[in-house]
Each structure stands twice: as C-alpha cells, then as structure tokens.
Amino acid sequence: MEWRPKIIVFTCNWCSYAGADLAGVSRLQMPPDFRIIRVMCSARVDPEFVLRAFQRGADGVMVAGCHPGDCHYIGGNYRTRRRMALLKLLLQQFGLNPKRFRLEWISAGEGQKFAEVIREFVDEIKKLGPSPYRQIKKEVRKHG
C-alpha cells in the first residue's frame, strides 16, 4: 500500500478556517492527507501542541492564521509569528527537516491559497517520507 502522510493543520477560527471552508465549498481539489484542528486564534497554538503532534507521529504540521494586522484579537498573530519562528529553529535542532513545519497567513477569502498551500505541503512531505519520530521506540510514558 502506498504510504500516505499524516499532516496536522491548526487554523484560526476567524481567517484560516474560513479560508479552508471556502476551499471546500469551492470544490477545490486537495489531497486528503491533512487533518484540521480549529482554534480560536493562531496564538492559541502553544508550541507544545506542535511538539506533541510530532511526538505522536505527525509527518508535518502547519499553523495558519490571519495576516499580520488582521488578527481578530488585534495582536495574537504577532505573538504567533515570534513563537513559530523560534519553534522552527528548535525543531531544526531536534534534527527535523524545517520543511515539515510551516506557518502560513491565510485570510477568509483565500480559499485558493489554502488549497495551493496544502497541495504544496503534502507534496513536500511525501518527498521527505515518514517523520523520523515515528520510528522512535514507543514506550509507555506519562505524557504519551
């Protein structure tokens, strides 16, 4: 059977989720390898969530929010972009290919962009193959 990646996409309620929704209702074709988790704001995505996703075997993680300046909560995504930029450096230190993690700004009107980003991301992850954290021996532990 062909290997299919598991991709987690965090979308903010006000822009990116609506963008994803628009992509859906516009019947834009996207590979079905991603799972959306809707949060109220991209700043709600604690870096721990991303680390947890990789720990649990995600092959790629994307965080999507409103464009800078458009945040529903005024300054949420300003925090997000700092955290995610630093998180990217951290993930690189953990040995992951930085392409496995993505931060995108997608507004409610950008259904087209959402579909394109997803297609591109899934393609990239398919080229990279399964995340090395999938191979790590899975032992029973507290936060497992």
């Binding site: 870096p47 680390l51 300046g69 300003y78 955290r83 450096l89 951290l90 992951l96 990279l128 532990r141």
Partner: protein, 337 residues
C-alpha cells in the same frame, strides 16, 4: 511506644554525586533524620557492595533515594533492584527526575558518542577502532563484562515505577526539610504520605516566588537578548527585563530561588510544573511572546522576526538543559534533507 526505625538507601545512577552531597546539606537536621532512619545502603557513605543490596529481602528498605539518570545497563539494573527492595522509591534530583545534564547527551547517540570519545579526540590513538565491548574473553577463557551503553539517556521513571520526585540540581536545603517533615510526620503516624507521583516542591512557577518579579505591576518586555557573560546584571531587576534568558516562567517553584539571590538567572533544574507537557515548549512560548514587541508591529517583516528570534542561540540547550529525556520529543533524530 518507641517506634522501630525506618531504613534508607541511597543509590546513584549516571550522576555527579552532587545529590549525595545534597543529602549532607540536611546540615544539623541530618541528625533528626538519622534519629528516625538508618542508612542501610549508600556506596558513597558506607562500605557496601551491590551484592549486599541484592541479598536484602524484597521491600525491606522503607525509603530509597535514587539519584542520577539511566545511561547504561548497570544504572538500569540497579534501578530495578532498588525498586524491588524499597517500599517507597524517590527520584531524587534533576537527573533522576528528568534526565538532567547527562540527558543532554540525547542530542547525540551511542555511535556518535563512541566515535568522538574513542576515535576523534585529540589525545586518542585507536588505529584498530576498538570500542568498549559488553563481554570479552581473555586467553585463559575468563569472561570480563562491562555494562551496555544505551543509545539514549532515560529518566528514572522511564525504567521503573517511581513514587515521588524531588527535582532540582541538587535539591536544596529547603526541599530536604520538606522531605524530612513528610517522613517524620509519616513515621510518627501523624500524616499519610502524599499521593503517589507527587513532585515534592511547589505547584506554581519560579516567578511566583521570585523577589524580583515586576509582573504584578506591569507587562514584561524584552527588547533584545543579552547573555549573562556580556553584561553585569542589575541585582534587583527581573532578568527577562534585562534581556537575560531566565527560565523562571517555565520552571517549578520550591527551590527558594537561590540562583536568583546569587544574581544568576534560573536555568530550569526544577523541571516544568504539572500543568504543562514540555518545559522547553513552555519557555519558548514565554520568551518569544515578549521579545521585541514594538508599537509599529505591522512594519516588521518576517525576515526581521527571524533575526529577532535567532538572537537566542541554542534554544534546545537553553530550554531543555535539565529535561531533554522527559521532553515531548526526548531526543534528536536524523531526518531526510
């Protein structure tokens, strides 16, 4: 009625023995401890051998303190023996609790460590590429053995069931007193032991007990990162406000902030609080959220943000200094480029 004395065992794994010294840091209260407890096993303090511990009946020791991480099969074996012989097993100190400084070896693996140590170091001459073997027979047929070096470092509870955790590197006098009170009350029948899995410290973060915390009056902002080696820190001002990385916001309180008092920022040896999954992720979030916030935020480009956060050199080493083996990702991997 005179109570029978309880028994204590101290065993170390991959540790610097600082935690044995920390037990001496009970100072004059050590006598109070020795009034209620006999030390029956402690290779650092008394002349005992592993076989003495192995020969003791199961559950015959009341309280066992294990300090140090689990680096090799000897550590793992002794952790299992301790678990069998002790009624209560305490992971004592940062290494047993979260992997500690030895846990930073998880940025590498066995192969790479052996290569560095037995091949690449300047003073090493090893033309045949000999690595340590777990078993070797000499010409007379006698077998010599060495413990197996694991591929990664584990915290104690990755290997065995642990009853309580005492964090910090090393546990401070204040924390020792907390343990003493708990044991005393229990031995005298005044109180039960805390629920299993309790971390014997506070539930809040270090900032909560920090004498410098200005957070109650204003928001803390960091304009840029400065390293402790570059500046002479103001002894009254919050370290983060001075741009110095201090792990207080992501670290459990209970140590009494001795580093802060000595004008050094927190390095996070107490581990995270119970409310978060990952100390590094928690600290990363805290520092990134207050770094270089400006009025004209909309003007800041993504490249500038990258520059801003790359002022933090070695986020992994800074944020997971004591907790890498117990972090979510646990160890560094190799990915396809």
């Amino acid at each position: 009625m005179a109570k029978k004395k309880i028994t204590l065992a101290l065993k170390r794994g991959a540790s610097c023995v600082g935690c044995d010294i920390a037990v001496v840091n009970f100072s004059e209260k050590l006598f109070e401890l020795l009034e209620i407890a006999d030390v029956v096993f402690s290779p650092t303090l008394i002349d005992v051998k592993y076989k003495d511990l192995e020969a003791m009946p199961d559950k015959s020791i009341t309280i066992g303190l294990y300090h140090g991480a689990v680096r090799n099969s000897e550590n793992a074996h002794l952790a299992e023996v301790m678990r069998k012989k002790c009624q209560v097993l305490i992971a004592y100190g940062a290494c047993a609790h979260m992997g500690g400084i030895p846990g930073l070896a998880n940025v590498s693996n066995r192969e790479k460590i052996f290569e560095t140590v037995y091949k690449k170091t300047f003073s090493t001459e090893n033309p045949e590429g000999v690595y340590p073997q777990t078993e070797w027979k000499d010409e007379k047929g006698r077998t010599l053995t060495l413990p197996e070096f694991f591929d990664e470092v584990y915290a104690l509870d990755d290997i065995v069931d642990v009853d309580y955790y005492v964090p910090a590197c090393p546990p401070t006098h204040k924390m020792n007193m907390q343990i003493l009170e708990l044991i005393k009350a229990w031995v005298e029948g005044k109180a039960e032991l805390p629920p299993k899995g309790t971390v014997i410290a506070e539930e809040k973060t270090l900032c909560d007990e920090c004498p410098r915390n200005p957070g109650k009056e204003k928001n803390i902002k960091v304009d840029r990162i400065r390293y402790i080696s570059e500046v002479n820190p103001d002894p009254d001002k919050c370290f983060l406000e001075q741009g110095i990385l201090c792990l207080g916001p992501a670290t459990r309180a209970g140590c009494g902030a001795p580093c802060i008092e000595a004008n050094m920022p927190c390095r996070g040896c107490m581990g995270p609080t119970s409310r978060v999954m990952d100390q590094g992720g928690s600290m990363l979030s805290a520092i990134a959220s207050i770094l270089g916030i400006r009025e004209d935020e909309i003007e800041i480009s993504e490249e500038e943000i990258e520059k801003l956060v790359s002022q933090i050199k070695d986020p992994l080493g800074c944020f997971y200094r004591f907790s890498l083996p117990r972090s979510l990702l646990r160890r560094v991997v190799e990915d396809r480029r």
